[in-house]
């Protein structure tokens, strides 16, 4: 009769993977506890449900910001026999969901040994740009110093550059849109309008749920600190500034006929410099936090993916800033090849790395924006 053999919280729902089954078990435990309700979006969303299908679990996993608060606060965390570790379980489920939504499916394997894959692609891209520059240009051009408008294009014609990067960017956008579509389908094509998108954008822009319910996120231990949120902001806004810099430069080129490099006081350089500095400090800070993180919270098998993305962002900024500082010296040719190689590989690997977390989390927040309203209106299924 009284069957104690099943692990506490185990349900009868069938799941595609063991980690989703474990996530289901934990959500069943948490749903009968609810102490963490005020910490983030995951718990209120969980309370609206009684049973958890794979789509629901993928939604909750991507809604989790990994702040760690619910681990430090859980009376059932290991070594307790109920073994409740929500941040780690959802981190693994989240990472597995990235692979499941990858487009084309054939490339989903890139998530498995992501650090290695991205390192190889980056190295190959850099090598290809250097080789291309060398084949195209005589050594005196490659190793000479160039100045004035159009200096970069003496090494690589602008149309080529625009063509290659335009294609890489377009590919990344299409692949990620397909992934986003797969995620949206998996979580049941929730209804959402502009209001929800706006609210989600606000939540994402402020990292509303990376604050451990108000005190800051837990990283090394149960002492809250807010450094991760700060460094994430530096990274995210640094990235946006760099992107803005490139966009403005493209506009200058085609609309105003002004050729790079631009003087230091011009908009593309100012935006790029500010963004580049953010992209140096932010990823470095996140990386340092990652090193110090309580091993209990870490999905060791995805270490490579997390690190690879941060390193790529850091290198993008580093090579970009180096190019800016040394653009009038003979090092410019090599630095340009280096920077372009790094940026190219950043683009083409974007759909197959940690970058996609932002996309899926944003969509999860869009869905949550609606659920939050239902909870507030009292129209949610569970009370």
């Amino acid at each position: 009769m009284q069957d104690n053999s099943a692990r506490a919280g185990t349900t009868l729902t069938a799941h595609a993977t063991p980690i989703l089954a474990e996530a289901d078990r934990l959500m069943t435990v948490c749903n009968s506890c609810r102490y963490c309700e005020g910490l983030c979006a995951v718990f209120p969303a969980m309370e609206m449900r009684r049973s958890f299908g794979d789509g629901d679990l993928n939604y909750l996993a991507n809604l989790c910001h990994g702040c760690g608060a619910c681990y430090a606060d859980c009376q059932f965390a290991p070594p307790h026999e109920f073994h409740v570790n929500v941040p780690k379980t959802l981190a693994i489920a989240r990472a597995e969901s990235y692979a499941a939504y990858a487009w084309p499916r054939a490339f989903s394997g890139l998530f498995a040994r992501n650090g290695l894959a991205i390192a190889i692609i980056a190295a190959l891209s850099v090598a290809a740009f250097i080789a291309g520059f060398a084949a195209w240009n005589d050594p005196p051009v490659l190793l000479g110093s160039h100045e004035g408008p159009g200096a970069f294009y003496r090494l690589m014609p602008h149309d080529w550059m625009a063509g290659i990067f335009g294609a890489a960017f377009l590919y990344a956008v299409v692949a990620m849109a397909m992934g986003a579509l797969a995620f949206w389908r998996d979580i049941g094509r929730p209804e959402a309008g502009l209001g929800e998108v706006g609210r989600a954008a606000g939540d994402a822009a402020t990292l509303r749920y990376l604050d451990g319910g108000g005190v800051g996120c837990m990283n090394e231990d149960e002492k809250p600190t807010d450094n991760r949120r700060l460094h994430h902001h530096l990274t995210f806004y640094g990235f946006l500034l760099c992107f803005a810099s490139t966009s403005v430069a493209t506009g200058y080129h085609y609309l105003l006929g002004m050729q790079a490099p631009y003087p230091w006081y011009d908009l593309p350089v100012l935006l790029g410099t500010a963004g580049g500095i953010g992209l140096l400090i932010g990823p470095a800070g996140l990386l340092a936090a990652k090193m110090r993180r309580d091993p209990a919270l870490v999905d060791e098998s995805r270490w490579g993916m997390e690190v690879a993305f941060l390193v790529m962002l850091f290198l993008t900024a580093l090579t970009g800033l180096a190019l800016l500082v040394l653009r009038a010296t003979p090092a410019m040719g090599l630095l340009l090849a280096l920077h372009l190689g790094v940026v190219f590989s950043l683009f083409v690997t974007m759909p197959y790395g940690r970058f996609v977390h932002g996309l899926y989390r944003f969509l999860a927040l869009v869905r949550y924006a609606r659920e939050r309203r239902m909870i507030a209106d009292g129209t949610a299924g569970e009370a």
Binding site: Q2, C33, F76
Partner: protein, 465 residues
């Protein structure tokens, strides 16, 4: 590392809410404070780890409390649940002191939130900890440490040297051996004796073997025993405790809140003979949940089964283990190990006695039985729509009430009627001063915080002369 040779101003024994409130208030009073916690670091904080809220009087709604809860109303509730078995002066004093607790606790870094989903009935009276009891403890420990309080884990107090009413030193058992610890004042905040089965058996007999302990395995009553043996006056009945009916599949210790079941009012409860034994619909659940532990403890083999049918399944808070389901009452009986004929008879008799009414589980509705013993006074609906479900339940002991007698300074009283010179108590270990029997949700933390704060303050004053 703790300096074992030092003489501390205040020694606090225990590591839960009462202990930390005492340690913080003693440190704020300028005392050097050492906290000795028997549990390892992860399990620090005993039963406090499992809590979610605290009951404090307040005269107006706040951003987390939906309305006023006056001292008078608190007192009425306490009087009702204890059936008058309380020390009125001390209880009224505690209630008055609970008011400033809402801000004092927040000043120690603990954060409040509105009542949790599924516990709306407590939204006016009880303040909930954001992140639950362990979050609360983490905040208290951080604050205590920032005030210079030192904490030793795996540090069980196994002997106390008490001379008349004066504490002199304690013996502490640590993994590296025993240490002697001297202090000018003692605050005992080491919980009740709920996880000591030998002690429970002394008063309950063999039924105690079937009890489950909802919280920490470390509250073995060691310190309570040492104090009573050293001549401190006892208060309370050793069989009185907070006990609820919890899922029988729960672990022996530390299953916590998630093994509770809130579905008694939706069905019937039968014992191992498949016979009902108490009115399941006597009153609303928040007012009745705390009697079911004792009720089940009085049944043969201390086991019972909550039986209900399909329409009720989604109407209560989910819990850890799934309900046991079956297509028929007979099949359900088989799965539960009950006599199918007997269970069928009980369900049929119940169904036949149910009068028509309009069901509303949020009020005392008019759905009741007629001519049935015991009756079901409210929420009686026929159990007829398969699948049928059951949860097995056993007595789940929360904490015991036998304790040390204290005065309003939280100072212990000796059996000869004198006041102890430098010994104070707070929390479960003195809960019996206020709770002779019965319970109202959130009072465990009120008792610990109010008397913990006072004990720390008074101990510091005494120690620093």
């Amino acid at each position: 590392m703790v300096d074992w040779s030092k003489t501390w101003d205040v020694l606090v024994v225990g590591g839960g809410n009462a202990a930390l409130c005492a340690a913080i208030s003693a440190a704020r009073g300028g005392a050097s404070v050492l906290v000795l916690e028997a549990a390892p670091r992860f399990y620090r904080g005993g039963n406090t780890r499992h809590t979610r809220n605290m009951r404090c009087a307040h005269d107006a709604a706040t951003d987390i409390l939906t309305g006023p809860y006056t001292e008078e109303e608190f007192w009425d509730d306490l009087l009702r649940v204890t059936g008058g078995r309380t020390d009125e002066q001390l209880a009224r004093f505690m209630i008055a002191e609970s008011k400033p607790m809402l801000t004092w606790i927040a000043e120690q870094g603990v954060r409040w939130q509105p009542s949790l989903g599924g516990t709306l009935s407590l939204g006016r009276t009880n303040s909930f900890f954001l992140g639950g009891g362990r979050a609360m403890l983490n905040a208290l420990y951080l604050t205590a440490e920032s005030l210079g309080v030192e904490v030793a884990y795996d540090a069980e107090v196994v002997a106390l040297d008490i001379d008349g009413g004066t504490f002199r030193q304690a013996t502490v058992k640590r993994p590296d051996g025993n240490h002697i610890l001297r202090a000018r004042a003692l605050v005992a905040a080491a919980g009740g004796f709920e996880s000591n089965f030998d002690w429970l058996r002394e008063h309950w007999g063999s039924p105690a073997d079937n009890f489950l302990i909802r919280g920490t395995p470390y509250n073995k009553g060691k310190v309570l025993r040492l104090l009573l043996d050293a001549g401190v006056e006892a208060i309370g009945d050793p069989t009185q405790c907070h006990a609820v009916a919890i899922d029988a599949r729960a672990p022996k210790f530390d299953g916590g809140i998630i093994t509770r079941l809130d579905c008694v009012v939706f069905g019937i409860v039968v014992n191992k003979d498949a016979v009902r034994f108490y009115d399941e619909g006597e009153d609303v659940w928040p007012k009745r949940y705390a009697i079911w532990g004792r009720l089940v403890a009085a049944q043969p083999d201390q086991i019972a089964y909550i039986v209900f049918d399909a329409p009720s399944l989604g109407m209560f808070m989910p819990s850890l283990y799934p309900a046991i389901g079956a297509a028929s009452i007979r099949e359900l009986a088989g799965k539960l190990g009950l006599d199918p004929d007997a269970l069928e008879r009980t369900v049929n008799d119940f169904n036949a006695a149910v009068r028509p009414g309009s069901f509303d589980h949020t009020i005392l509705d008019d759905c009741r039985t007629e001519g049935l013993t015991p009756p079901k006074s409210h929420w009686a609906r026929r159990i007829e729509k398969p699948p049928f479900y059951a949860y097995p339940v056993r007595p789940g002991i929360t904490f015991t009430y036998l304790g040390t007698r204290v005065n309003r300074d939280a100072r212990m009283r000796m059996a000869d009627g004198s006041d102890a010179a430098n010994m104070f108590a707070a929390g479960e270990i003195m809960a019996g001063n206020v709770l002779g029997q019965g319970y109202a949700a959130g009072m465990g933390m009120t008792i610990g915080s109010v008397f913990g704060r006072i004990a720390g303050r008074e101990a510091a004053i005494g120690a620093r002369g």
